[in-house]
Symmetry: C3
Subunit: 205 residues, 3 copies
């Protein structure tokens, strides 16, 4: 449990950096950094907890999530200019957060007794929902809607976890498999620049 | 009850098409279709359930809503190019969904024991809220804020239902009257191109 | 308590005006005025109640909040052109609403038994969250993310209240001190045109 908790905090920190870096691009003040960092770091899990009725939401129950987010966003305000050279490392860290949040979100839903399909949806929402909030807040087109194998990775991870848990009843193994599946797919997609086909109509070339 | 349930699914499907067609215009991938379809199909009812504290939200309790939304959005991804010629049919179907969601939303609020005014607000939110979410997600100006007799129709339907139910205590009749009132007003507005006056200041011509 | 309730209604009305004036700038219809007014007037408190699990949300429990918002938004639709000359008065009124919502939001969280840090966050969210919703809805860049000493004032007010309440256990005095602290900082910031530094990278001049 402590390993999972430490990983959860790490995922929160990584996603907070992704939000803070977008705030840097928008030239916000330190409050803007904190607000935009909160969207990916705690937004997906908040939507999950609200939909499931698991209230108060997780970051009200355990203030560490908010503390980590505020600390990381504040640090990024002063250090963002040095982070630009580590963009690849950040992409890998983001993949780590995505994979982790997808399985942790699905697991939390299962514990609350929802149907497997809903648990998969909750995992996907936990992994991706915060990024959509971040983009809406910053008036950017949510990239996830258009190009990347990002939601796909979250869906795969959540689906693997829920499916394996259903068949084997071995929660730890299912968590690991779902996490690794999502992480691998996302890393391969980054490495090979893979993306899903987008909709085109007849008039397009 | 089964008639109401079938109509509810139909309304969900129709609203999912409206979201998916906007995703088509934005050239999103299939995940984009699903996410944008979820906004109008289940977004208004989600806001209603959250505000009322009726948790978990309806689509967590009954996975059919999510299944219908995902199926319709996926089908639209492949078929959107053939739907363009049926735009009028879709407008009528959308009016049907709006009228239905408005009375169903108000009814759900009444069952939970809120004041009549709040029930009317909840019906209006259930009918229109999802469309606002869809437009915000796609970075479009929410048209409902500016031009159409759309929220007006939802308000009329929810108001008729709540008012008649209060006076006659005949829920079925009140549901039918509210539904037909909203549907008629919306269809007349589409047909005659009616709209509400917008705000203008002195300097405008 | 009745004084606090009257101030709460006044804060709601003032924030509703701020939303309705943005709707005027966007030339929305009367429904647009109401929807955009709801965002700042009841949006921040809604996010607070959802996160805390204090459901149904406050405006479902007490319809007066919604009535005041709808009445103010409708009145502004007809009177907005006359309000332009009172912009300074409106800024002061908005500062009043901000300070009040920040301490009231923190107080509500404390009553529900959350940690002091979370109570401060809830006060800040109650004060500022609605304005962010309003800007997202109207596709404006949330100004609060970039320039003003606005969230800072809410944070100061909520922090003062929670800190003093913790030390002195005198809730009334702590409420007054937090309210006055936030109001003063915001008024000074308006008067002197103070703002926080924004992020700049090396390439900037």
């Amino acid at each position: 449990m402590t390993v999972l908790y430490a990983m959860d905090m790490l995922g929160t920190a990584v996603f907070a950096v992704s939000g803070a870096l977008m705030a840097a691009r928008k030239r916000y003040d330190i409050f803007g950094f904190i607000v935009v960092a909160m969207a990916p770091a705690i937004g997906g899990g908040t939507v999950r907890d609200l939909a499931l009725g698991a209230l108060p939401v997780f970051w009200v129950k355990d203030a560490n999530y908010l503390l980590v987010t505020v600390a990381v966003a504040s640090a990024t305000f002063f250090l963002a200019r040095f982070l630009e050279r580590y963009m690849t490392a950040l992409l890998v860290a983001d993949a780590f957060g995505l994979a982790l949040f997808a399985v942790v979100g699905a697991e939390k839903a299962l514990v609350l007794g929802v149907e497997p399909l809903i648990a998969v949806a909750m995992g996907t929402i936990t992994g991706c929902g915060g990024g959509i909030l971040r983009d809406v807040l910053c008036r950017e087109e949510p990239l996830i809607l258009r190009r990347d194998i990002y939601a796909t990775a979250a869906l795969l991870g959540a689906g693997l976890f829920v499916g394996l848990e259903h068949v084997t009843h071995d929660r730890t193994m299912a968590l690991a498999a779902g996490f690794l599946g999502a992480l691998l797919l996302r890393l391969i997609a980054i490495r090979r620049n893979l993306s899903l086909p987008v909709y085109t109509d007849r008039k397009s070339p």
